[in-house]
Amino acid sequence: MKKAITMILMTALVTVSSHVTAETTEERLAQLEKEVQNLKQEQSVVALPEVSLGGYGELHYNNLSGHGGASDKESVDFHRFVIYMGHEFNDRIRFSSEIEIEHSLSGDGKPGEVELEQAYIDFDINSEHTLRGGLFLLPVGILNETHEPTTFYGVERNSVEKNIIPTTWWEAGFGMHGGITDDLLYSAYIHSGLMTSTGSAYSVRSGRQKVAKATASDLAGTLALNWRVPGVTVGGAVQFQSDISQGSDSDTGEGVLGEVHTDIRKGALGLRALYAQWSLDGDGPKSYGSDKQYGWYIEPSFRPIDSIGLFARYSAWDNKAGSAGTDNQKAQIDLGVNWWPHEQVVVKADYQWQDNEDDKEQNGFNMGMGYAF
């Protein structure tokens, strides 16, 4: 009897034990299967998933007739060839960079340049705020940070942002960017500044040092705020620099830039507008009328279908708008079309009329093509 009971108990134990083992194996198999699937899902077909590559470029043809002493311009130019590379060190730290070849050929006596346009590291503090340090584009205007040819109308970038902001403008420094609320974005940086000189009549564009062994005795600060919701951006920026000649000219003082802009695209209709103004202290800028430099433009557009966009733009700007400056205001009307055969490729054509106070005008048409990826 004892033997029989022992046999029954042992059989029961083995059965229970084998059942438990089988369940565990099944569970383990299911778990393994799930893990393999997750690994496959996570496995990127991209060779280096932590590396981002991109770029853009634009080829321009200008056919302009000069009037009132202005020169003709008939030229073809691969204006910009840019390679973007980024690297993600971890979930919170990223590197971004852009190298640009301007005008296709660089070197002594050649028309072009090789430029490091961006090289910075972003450190995420949390999902909404990021610290940035390095060489970066300043958050001023519409085009300065976003200027891929597929994103704007016209073969050439507009003259106001080029001559007044002055786009493309990068400096070295550090600061922070992010969102104060879901829709209100800020950027605040301390960075290197411009170095204008009497040789260029204190034009702000010629003051860009491009962070190339740049004099940094006087730093600058930029604060930008943008209210950005789908289809609508309204914003502005303020920048302050304590000496616009970096101490090299005793006749200069502080420089302050203020700008406001809007960028609207609702359905087929679009509108961009911007006003920017520099105030430069000191007798030097005042003597040329460069103590006030300003410009504005308005650009309505119509995109009846996704692949075609029509635009018109009126621009006015003056780099010597102070009391000592005379006959320096420039104005330009552009009419043109963008055709996107692919969303990352654009073909452009436009016609420009200038109406400058000094009567030196270049009128004619521009054609171009560009890409961004």
Binding site: V45, S52, E88, H129, E148, L223, P230
Partner: protein, 183 residues
């Protein structure tokens, strides 16, 4: 540092007194915003979409691979697509290329229409707002007009064209994958 240099630096700092109201208000708002977000953390709210059904996967090969390439314009960046299904409702987890790496988004689709969506992960710098409700709610109710065209235009985020387009492509792909399964 010489006295004159110190004086010059102090003068430079003092120049910012021209900006204080704006700067002060911005700093206060940033600090307040930091506090709110640190408290809230960076965790993504994925809601109860997991209740739709058990996680399943779809291998990106054969006709699925071709469909992905047609919808996105490039090879799907991952080997499998995760989804959940319960009768006519499905949740599709889609990865698309942003400016700074992959954007992973989730589209919940019922009877060929998007009923909810959210961004699960993104490293976009200027395109952070694609993860905000105001942007995402534009996708609610959208279906496919043509294989690669949504039933209504979605307004993009200015300065974040790549991120906005990545989301539109993700929506199209999710709708097409759902349509393929429902056939």
């Amino acid at each position: 540092m010489t006295k004159s240099k110190m004086a010059s630096t102090w003068a430079w700092v003092m120049h910012f007194k021209q900006l204080p109201p704006l700067l002060l208000v911005t700093c206060q708002l940033v600090v307040a915003s930091c506090a709110v977000h640190i408290q809230g953390g960076a965790k993504v709210d994925v809601g109860d979409y997991e209740a739709i059904g058990p996680e399943q996967t779809l291998a990106v090969k054969g006709d699925v691979r071709l469909l992905c390439k047609d919808a996105l314009g490039y090879e799907y960046p991952l080997g499998l697509i995760i989804y959940r299904r319960n009768n006519n409702t499905a949740a599709w987890q889609i990865a698309t290329k942003g400016k700074h790496g992959l954007i992973t988004s989730l589209f919940i689709i019922k009877e060929g229409q998007i009923i909810d969506c959210r961004v699960l992960s993104s490293k976009e710098v200027r395109g952070k707002q694609i993860a905000k409700k105001r942007y995402l709610k534009q996708f609610t109710g959208l279906s496919l007009l043509k294989p690669n065209k949504l039933s209504k235009r979605v307004d993009g985020i200015s300065g974040a064209t790549t991120s906005s387009k990545a989301m539109m492509h993700a929506a199209i792909l999710a709708l097409r994958l759902d349509g393929r399964q429902q056939k």
